[in-house]
Amino acid sequence: MASSFFAKRQPGPSNAAALAAQAAANKPWIEKYRPKTMDDISSQEQAVAVLKKTLESQNLPHLLFYGPPGTGKTSTILALARDIYGPEMVNSRVLELNASDERGIQVIREKVKNFARSTVSTNTSDHSVPPYKIIILDEADSMTADAQSALRRTMETYSKLTRFCLICNYVTRIIEPLASRCAKFRFRPLEEHHSKSRLELICLQEGVQISPEATLSLIRLSDGDLRKAIMFLQSASRLVGKGKEITVEVVSDVAGTVPESVIDGLEACWHTRDYNKISTEVTFAVREGHSAARILTQLHERLLRNDALTSLQKARMAEAFGDMDKALNDGADEELQLLNMMSRVSAIAA
């Protein structure tokens, strides 16, 4: 009997408002602090400025947002839509299709057609609302090339009534004819001082205490991905509990950083050709549950900083690292891959 789990949602008018308020309080910080307006978007000054300008001209082109995760792409288009239509109309004027939806050629065409055709209830008194609707294709890089090329026609057919916004991480995965129809906006990894001020704002509102060094390592560990930084911040604050300060150690703990001692142990093996030693260190790291991909990243930092190695040695070692990265990506066994990489590297470095 699955019925109890899948019972349909009952609209409860009496306590709906209370529920909404509670839901907001219960939202994890990455959602709670999602920018509400274009002005809340930090760091992407260029994109935001150009977008604001285009808005004034009432003539929005098709858009293509690209950039690494957690840099504000989805937030920007959602904020933009809210700025254009206002909070009430935004739901009827914006259609979002993301990688979770069926996005075959036929389905897209059908959905876009229906959405574009449903008449825009033009409120004549309100001239500030533009006549077109917006269709957001989030995670567009996971669409097949066929579906993308079918999209070209659809875009042209409904160009009077709709504007498309394509969002992706890798602009190279969008076919050229499609990309060339859009105004492109590149979202950059957040600059340190922008991440910093955003994190400080959250700390202030949530009453979190954090040492300046910890904030810095939070930012460093998240590579300009603000969502990651906020996620780390929230779990760090849960870890230390209310009223205590978040330290650098706590941050590297929640970020899943492999402890320096483990990395030290592995690096020490580079200069021996002792298989058993390698095997002991690798097995320990794997049993502790550290991700091989993380270990690889951290070992790579060590490689760059290591002065005892010649450039040629470093190059050859980097090759072994690259092979391992590829193999991991294909789902190969982490322990075997680590053993392989370490034994290759030790033959180069020792």
């Binding site: 993301n98 979770s100 849960r238 049993r287 075997l336």
Partner: protein, 380 residues
């Protein structure tokens, strides 16, 4: 009613308070459950470290005893090509569990259907402690890229009444955008000392002690710090010999012994006959549903343990890594397993010639090695 259960299941802790090791992690999880803003979670660590147990405890902490009342229902999903898929889904009133390996390539559709359905339902029980429901995705590292991409925006949109807990052995296969939407929870294997404690407690509850610490320690070591495995071995050991003895043999799986014999054979003689015999053994293992990567890895470890020279050990492990990778992306496991064996024979024989170790067996190996590799190339 408990009588039929294996010890591993019977003595599985069912609340955070009863968890044995990693007390810091347990405390962290407890405070997360108590706070209102419980995040999505990615729980990772080696197998047998107790990830599943911990997740069950989290659910119980969040929702109370109702989360442990599980039922299994068949559910039918339809693919865009109108093909019907029937899958067994485990659920309680508060959560639902899915396993991508049951679904194969259609995992995106099944997961999205389930998530959307869950997101549109609400907690029936008004007194429920949490507003959201939980979807547990086991073996999340097996999710296709397609399914992972599909989860990204879903995880954001349905945050209001849905949380996802993913469970996997490694985060290496989980795409970055998903990792950054989750709280990463690492569950390392228990230390040997912690495992001995757990075993002692179980033995005490089963009234079949005393259990010599030294034997328990050997079980912990031989299991590779895999607690599930250690408890299974302990239960077998109890059947084999009561009371336990210090010098009792650690029970081994018969397939492990089978692989060990193959390893011994390979190092004894490197020729076509041995290759043929070993291939027969490999086939048999595959037919007994031993996972091919596990066969390869176990064989490699048995080989390396029997080889003296570091240089040769390393060569063998490098080949193991190479062929295990090939095996994952290829189709026919036996080709890669056989190619690995042939390669090892080649390496080992060359080494014996170089160091003047007397050759056992008969015939050259180069021919056989070639066969193994040609097959392998034809396959790619």
């Amino acid at each position: 009613m408990d009588a039929g259960l294996l010890w591993v299941d019977k003595h599985r802790p069912n609340s955070l308070d009863k968890l044995d090791y990693h007390p810091d992690l347990t405390a962290h999880l407890k405070s997360l459950c108590a706070s209102g803003d419980f995040p999505h979670m990615l729980v990772y660590g080696p197998s047998g470290a107790g990830k599943k147990t911990r997740i069950a405890c989290i659910l119980r902490e969040l929702f109370g005893a109702g989360a442990s009342k599980l039922k299994v229902d068949p559910r039918v999903f339809e693919t865009p090509s109108k093909r019907k898929l029937e899958i067994q889904v485990t659920s309680s009133n508060y959560h639902i569990e899915i396993n991508p390996s049951d679904v194969g390539n259609q995992d995106r559709i099944v997961i999205q259907d389930l998530l959307k359905e869950v997101a549109q339902t609400q907690q029936l029980d008004a007194s429920a402690q949490k507003r959201f429901k939980v979807v547990v995705i086991h073996e999340a590292d097996l999710l296709t890229r397609d399914a992972q991409a599909g989860l990204r925006r879903t995880m954001e949109k349905y945050m209001g009444n849905l949380r996802i807990i993913m469970c996997c052995n490694t985060t290496s296969n989980i795409i970055g955008p998903i990792q950054s939407r989750c709280l990463l929870v690492r569950v390392g294997a228990p230390t040997e000392a912690a495992m001995v404690e757990v075993m002692q407690r179980v033995v005490k509850k089963e009234h079949c002690g005393p259990l010599p610490d030294s034997f328990a320690k050997r079980l912990a070591q031989d299991s590779g710090r895999n607690l599930r495995r250690a408890l299974l071995m302990l239960e077998t050991a109890k059947v084999q010999r009561q009371p336990f003895a210090e010098d009792q043999a650690v029970p081994r799986m018969d397939w492990e012994d089978f692989i060990k014999h193959s390893a011994v054979n390979i190092l004894k003689s490197q020729n076509a006959d041995t290759l043929l015999t070993v291939r027969g053994n490999l086939y048999e293992l595959i037919n007994h549903c031993i996972d091919p990567p596990t066969i390869l890895k176990t064989l490699a470890k048995e080989l390396v343990a029997r080889i003296e020279k570091d240089e040769i050990k390393m060569k063998v492990i490098q080949e193991a890594a190479f062929y295990e990778h090939r095996l994952r992306i290829g189709n026919k496991a036996i080709f890669h397993l056989e190619a690995f064996v042939a390669k090892v024979m080649h390496i080992y024989k060359k080494y014996k010639v170089r160091f003047g170790v007397p050759l056992l067996g008969k015939g050259g190996t180069t021919g056989e090695t070639g066969t193994g590799q040609r097959k392998n190339e034809g396959e790619e």
